[in-house]
Each structure stands twice: as structure tokens, then as C-alpha cells.
């Protein structure tokens, strides 16, 4: 099972990933927590959500995260996909989940997830990671927390430089 890193205000820790990615068209495994596609949750949402397991949805870069708005209170997590680390659309998806849609559950980065992106990912409100580069929670924590200051507001709610008491 792949490593899952959970990031909180206290830093990053490795936890067990209980969720199974269910490929479209394949049957849903009994009793397991699942992550399904946006298309599947739209088609089978009620049945999946009534089955008693925890349900997450994976958003691809081209998909509009707003389409999840009504379902969000019932979802355990939203996985934002990075098919390539250079594809930055998931940063907007994550930001909107936090700032606009008020989602407080887990936002998980999956795909080409590299520690070099830890800083921007956490700032956009992503709080769980399946790293593709084998990085540890400690390395992830260092990378994400490297900057003592930030210049702009973002989904992580950090105080921007202009609002710091020491600004001159």
C-alpha cells in the first residue's frame, strides 16, 4: 500500500491509507473506503453514499470542482489529480474547495506528487499527499514549512507579510 502523508499545523505524519481507488466500470469492493471519479459519483452517488463506507471523489484537472458542491458535506475526502507535476490546475481546484466551497474534509494530492511541490500544495489547502518520489513525512514537513513568511493570502490561512506585526 502506498504511503500517505497527512499534513496538519503540527507537521506531517505518515498514516495508513484506508481508501481504495475504484476504476470506472469496475465493481466497488465490499466494505472498503473508496475513491471514485466525478462521473461515477454523479451517476451512482446515492447508492455509493448509502452503502456505509467512506467515500471520496477524485477530480481531474479539466473537471470543475464546483460540480461537487452539493455532495461535499457527505464526502470524506476529495483527491485532486496531478497527471504531471507541471499541471497546475489542481491548485485552483484545491483553493476553491477550501475558500469557496467551504470544504473542511481531507484534500489529497495524487499522481505526480513531488516534495518540491509541498510548499504550494499545502498553501492551496491540500493536507494529504501520496508522494510519487518516495519522500518521507519528515522530508515533506521540511519542504512545506521552509518559508518563514508568505506574501499573499491563500487557502491555508497563513498571515501574509503585510499583516505581520513586524512589517516595516
Amino acid at each position: 500500500m502506498s504511503t500517505l502523508i497527512k499534513y496538519t499545523a503540527n507537521g506531517a505524519t505518515e498514516i495508513e491509507n484506508s481508501f481504495v481507488h475504484v476504476v470506472d466500470g469496475e465493481p466497488v469492493p465490499q466494505g472498503a473506503d473508496i475513491i471514485v471519479s466525478l462521473g461515477r459519483i454523479k451517476a451512482e452517488g446515492e447508492a455509493l453514499l448509502a452503502s456505509g463506507v467512506r467515500v471520496g471523489v477524485q477530480i481531474e484537472p479539466a473537471e470543475a470542482v464546483e460540480d461537487l458542491a452539493e455532495l461535499l458535506p457527505r464526502l470524506a475526502l476529495v483527491a485532486v489529480a496531478f497527471p504531471k507535476f507541471r499541471d497546475g490546475r489542481a491548485y485552483t481546484s484545491a483553493t476553491l474547495l477550501r475558500q469557496r466551497l467551504g470544504f473542511n474534509g481531507e484534500v489529497r494530492a495524487v499522481g505526480d506528487v513531488l516534495r518540491e511541490q509541498a510548499y504550494v500544495m499545502t498553501r492551496c489547502g491540500i493536507d494529504a499527499f501520496v508522494p510519487a518520489d518516495g519522500s518521507s513525512a519528515a522530508e515533506w514537513s521540511r519542504a512545506a514549512g521552509h518559508f518563514r513568511h508568505v506574501y499573499q493570502t491563500a487557502a491555508d490561512g497563513r498571515t501574509p507579510a503585510y499583516a505581520e506585526p513586524g512589517r516595516r
Binding site: 484537472p61 507535476f85 507541471r86 499541471d87 497546475g88 490546475r89 491548485y91 485552483t92 483553493t95 475558500q99 469557496r100 513531488l114 518540491e116 510548499y119 504550494v120 500544495m121 498553501r123 492551496c124 518520489d133 521552509h146 518559508f147 518563514r148 513568511h149 508568505v150 506574501y151 499573499q152 493570502t153 491563500a154 487557502a155 507579510a161 503585510y162 499583516a163 505581520e164 513586524g166 512589517r167 516595516r168
Partner: protein, 552 residues
């Protein structure tokens, strides 16, 4: 001038340490070149034909004395003794070693300089008017807004992996010295009827292989709402911009395919959903930034300096310099001085370490320690007492920086071209030099007047050829360098894209062709017309006939 406080300095230290760590991982083989590439690019490090090139950010083209001295030191220590100023008001060093890059960034950080976002698919250095704070033409000081954008865009988490690079310019005068209309976003300060400040927002301008003039999507954006509006534009672009084809990934392609009206509508829809209290800068921060740009040290002087007038009368060289390189300052008795980096035998935009140190010394003595870089690859000393102009002139002459050719035929923009760049198809620098050589007669050059020649060594258009009054594009035809001329472009407030004159020319034919174009202009011009005005009035045909007369 904006001064970095402890927060800004700690940020640069953190950035420098982060990159040192990343370089270490690359050199140890822990990162592949593919993984390392976007990291080094976001720190301004390119791999070129012969070596790494490091592009150092000069926020909105403003430098102080210590910074210029440090650039001179870096050029001498880590490069071959010179640097190249770019059309984004940055400076780049072409002979850098990867292992030295972290040390160079540390040395830069000590004087509040860095290379953040000088490359990569992110928001690049915001460019602005090199005369900001010195010209009476401006509605407001554009540096205030440029600095606000600098901070907002620095490591912006949502907009660090855009479809493609993103360039913003801020102009505040009717005369646009920033090429705002060929930027991804051009911001032109406007004054509302009620006296409040706002921006005309132009989007989707750009050059490269598909040039566009930016289109206005908002006539008057209240200035205090700038950052939320930029967030809306960038978000629409980040989501909808193409990522399948690098050549169609700039915002200009999105704006062009949606239409400016529809793009603007989507931005408005997004903007309406953004929490202004979170996204816009508080007035207190704007006031803090504004206070940093209040210029101390300007004296109350008579409007005319008698000693300067006398010196100009006695020294024709000074008089010529004054005609071409000296402009009015907003304060009586002061002047704005353009320092040309376009001597006829020089590489356009290059300055060596001795010259940089001389500029720093002269700025310290004569320009309140303020130095600017222009997007046309020259420097500006913005606050010079008229009475100091003769001494400044002599100081510039001593280091070969008194070329009196600002806006004239030899004040050429040229990209590094095939002499340095891995992307180039043809050389640009020798072509610029051959044209400058052809117009060595300064009287004739002055007679011709404003004529903007811009040369790019490939279709990526780093030399802005699309917006040259005469544009020159280097192309490769079966292994040979050819040059395609365009006429009628402009990057200024009257922006337009040049049109192709005719078949390509070989390198030796370019300067004679320019000469013939100039002769047509001199024969046809009326009144105060510039080359561009005459072309726009009489059209392509007479110019084309003159250049290709031998081909008939």
C-alpha cells in the same frame, strides 16, 4: 525606493537556502533533469548553448547603488566580466556554472536581489516605466502598484504552475514606455471623473509566433481592487488555458479563441465571487508601499541652470547628448538622463563590470543613488541636477556610455541570438552592429529621428521584432541565416504588429535595406512625421519597391 525589511530579507534567505538544497540534490543525482528543470527555471537558471545562464530579477527595473556594484562584482567573479540587460528590465549572466548558482543567489540576497520567477511558467517580473517618480507625465507612481504585484505574485501558490509564462506591465503616462499592449496583462493607470485612481486592464497581448495586441477587458478597475481582479484573470487562465501545446498555451490564445468580450465576462463572473477583504491589499499596506517611494533629497532649484546652458553652448557633443538623451524632470532644475547601452560596436544591452561600477558611482554622485533599466535595454539616471549634467556627461564619456542615440536608428533592441541562445535560428547581435555601423553619422541619425529597430534571432520574438518600426526576424533556411523584415510595428501606446516587407534577406543585405527604407522615409515624410507615421500614411509599396528594386 522600496527598501526590504527583515521579512523581505528572511524570505530571500529562505529561498536561497531552498535552491542550494535543490542544486545539491540535483548534483547528487536525487533529482532528474526533468524534475530539476522547473525548479531551476523558477530561479532564473537556463541551460543555453555554451553554459548556464542566470537571469537576475530587477523588480520593475529599479536598482540602487549597492545592487549595481554587486552585479558588477558577480559579472567579474562568476562570468566573463559583463552582464546583459533584457527587455524585461532584468539582467542576465551567460557564463554561469551550476555549482556557483547558489553562491551567486546568496550574494544577490545580501543586496536584496534574487532570481525568483525570472523564468518558468509563472508570473514574471512586473515591468514598469523607467521614468516612474521622475516624470511629470504620470498620473500616479506605477512603482507603488508594481511593488504590490511583486509581493502578491512572489511564490503565489495557486499560480506557480500556469500553462505558460505570464507577464504584467504597469504604465502611468500617456506615453507608454512599458510596451503594455504586448503583455499578458497591461495595466494603464487612469484617473476617474471623481479623481479616484483606476486601471485600464488589457489582456492577451504578446509576441512569439502568434503576435497579438492586448484588448481592453475593463476600462476602469478601481485601483484598490487590483489584486482581486488579477486573481480572477489568473484563475480563469489557469483553468482554461491550453496545456496540450506549448505554442498555444499563452493567455493570448485563450483570449483570442474565446473573444475578449467572453473572456472579460468570465473574469467578471469569477471576480464577483472573490472575497475582496481577503484578496485586496488593505489601504494601510498600500500607504506603507507608497511612502517608500516618496523621493527624498530633491532640492528646490531654478528651472534653468545657467552653468549647464553655457556648457551646452560651448560643447557640441554635450549639446547632442542633451538633445537625444536628456528629458524633462518633474522637479524644476532636474533632468532625466538616458544612458545608452547601444554604442555602435557594442552588444545591445551589454554592460561590463567597469561600466556598471562607473554607473553606480555616477548615480551616487548625481542621481540620488537611483538607477533604472528600460525594456529597450538601456539605463536611466532619473534624478540629475541640470547643473551636474556636464560632469555626468564627462563621466559617461570616460566609460563609453555617452552614446547620444536614444530612440534613434542605432538604439536597437536585439536578443542574444545564435551567439548564445539554444533556441535561436540566426544571429542578432552582428546584424544590430552592422546597422549601427551604417548609421555612424550622428547628424544623419538625428535627421532621421525616432526609428525603433528590433531584432529577434527566432520566432520566439525576445527581440520584440513584431513591434519594431522596422522589425528584423532571423530565420533558418536550409542551414543558412536569413532575415525577414517587417514594417509598421509599435510597442508603445499606438501599438501595432508589423507587416512583412518581402522575401528574406541574407545578413549582408540587412543594413543596406534599412538604409533604403530610411531614404524612402526621408523623401516622403511630411512635417514632423516619424518613420512609423510616414509608413502608416503611405503604406508598404514604396518601401518594398526600394528594397527589392534589384530583384525586378
Amino acid at each position: 525606493m522600496y527598501r526590504y525589511d527583515a521579512i523581505d530579507k528572511e524570505f530571500l534567505t529562505d529561498r536561497s537556502n531552498e535552491f542550494r538544497h535543490q542544486v545539491g540534490r540535483r548534483l547528487a543525482g536525487e533529482l532528474s533533469e526533468d524534475q530539476f528543470k522547473p525548479l531551476r527555471l523558477m530561479n532564473g537558471l537556463y541551460l543555453q548553448l555554451h553554459a548556464y545562464m542566470l537571469r537576475v530579477c530587477i523588480p520593475y527595473g529599479t536598482l540602487n547603488v549597492a545592487q549595481v556594484r554587486r552585479l558588477a562584482w558577480i559579472a567579474r567573479t562568476y562570468d566573463k566580466g559583463y552582464g546583459h540587460f533584457t527587455t524585461r528590465q532584468n539582467i542576465q549572466f551567460h557564463w554561469v556554472k551550476l555549482r556557483d548558482a547558489p553562491d551567486i543567489l546568496d550574494a544577490l540576497a545580501e543586496v536584496d536581489l534574487h532570481a525568483i520567477q525570472t523564468s518558468g511558467n509563472c508570473i514574471r517580473n512586473t515591468t514598469s516605466d523607467p521614468r516612474a517618480g521622475a516624470t511629470a507625465e504620470e498620473i500616479d507612481d506605477p512603482r507603488v502598484w508594481s511593488e504590490a504585484i511583486r509581493q502578491w505574485s512572489t511564490l503565489h501558490p495557486e499560480f506557480s504552475y500556469l500553462p505558460r509564462k505570464f507577464k504584467i506591465a504597469v504604465t502611468a503616462s500617456a506615453k507608454d514606455r512599458t510596451a503594455a499592449r504586448v503583455h499578458d496583462i497591461g495595466l494603464a493607470l487612469r484617473q476617474g471623473r471623481d479623481g479616484t485612481l483606476g486601471f485600464e486592464v488589457m489582456v492577451g497581448g504578446g509576441m512569439g509566433r502568434t503576435p497579438f495586441i492586448g484588448q481592453t477587458i475593463k476600462e476602469f478597475l478601481p485601483a484598490t481592487r487590483l489584486l482581486s481582479y488579477l486573481e480572477a484573470v489568473l484563475r480563469v487562465y489557469n483553468r482554461a488555458g491550453r496545456r496540450d501545446n506549448i505554442y498555444k498555451a499563452r493567455i493570448k490564445i485563450l483570449v483570442s479563441s474565446l473573444g475578449a468580450e467572453e473572456f472579460g465576462r468570465q473574469v467578471e463572473e469569477e471576480w464577483a465571487q472573490i472575497d475582496a477583504a481577503r484578496a485586496d491589499l488593505p489601504d494601510t499596506e498600500l500607504a506603507r508601499i507608497r511612502a517608500a517611494f516618496i523621493q527624498p533629497g530633491l532640492e528646490v532649484l531654478p528651472a534653468v541652470s545657467d552653468s549647464y546652458e553655457a556648457a551646452r553652448g560651448a560643447n557640441p557633443a554635450l549639446a547632442r547628448f542633451a538633445r537625444n538623451n536628456v528629458s524633462a524632470h518633474k522637479a524644476p532644475g532636474y533632468a532625466i538622463v538616458d544612458v545608452s547601452l547601444k554604442a555602435h560596436d557594442a552588444t545591445p544591452g551589454d554592460a561590463n563590470s567597469d561600466q556598471l561600477e562607473a554607473i553606480a558611482d555616477l548615480a551616487e554622485r548625481f542621481s540620488l543613488g537611483d538607477i533604472r533599466v528600460t525594456h529597450e535595454q538601456n539605463l536611466v539616471l532619473p534624478h540629475v541636477k541640470q547643473s551636474d549634467l556636464p560632469a555626468l556627461f564627462e563621466g559617461l564619456v570616460a566609460v563609453g556610455l555617452a552614446t547620444p542615440n536614444i530612440n534613434l536608428v542605432s538604439d536597437i533592441i536585439a536578443c542574444p541570438g545564435l551567439d548564445y541562445c539554444a533556441l535561436a535560428n540566426a544571429r542578432a547581435i552582428p546584424v544590430a552592429q552592422s546597422i549601427a555601423q551604417r548609421f555612424l553619422d550622428a547628424d544623419r541619425a538625428e535627421l532621421v529621428g525616432e526609428l525603433k529597430i528590433k531584432i529577434s534571432g527566432c520566432i520566439n520574438a525576445c527581440g520584440h521584432h513584431h513591434v519594431g518600426h522596422i522589425g528584423i526576424l532571423g530565420v533558418d533556411k536550409k542551414g543558412e541565416e536569413y532575415y525577414q523584415l517587417t514594417l509598421g510595428g509599435s510597442g508603445a501606446e499606438d501599438a501595432s504588429i508589423g507587416k512583412i516587407l518581402g522575401p528574406g534577406l541574407n545578413a549582408d543585405q540587412v543594413a543596406p535595406a534599412v538604409d533604403r527604407l530610411v531614404e524612402v522615409y526621408l523623401a516622403e515624410r511630411q512635417g514632423e512625421e516619424r518613420f512609423l507615421d510616414t509608413y502608416r500614411r503611405i503604406g508598404m509599396t514604396p518601401f518594398k519597391e526600394a528594397v527589392y528594386v534589384d530583384a525586378h
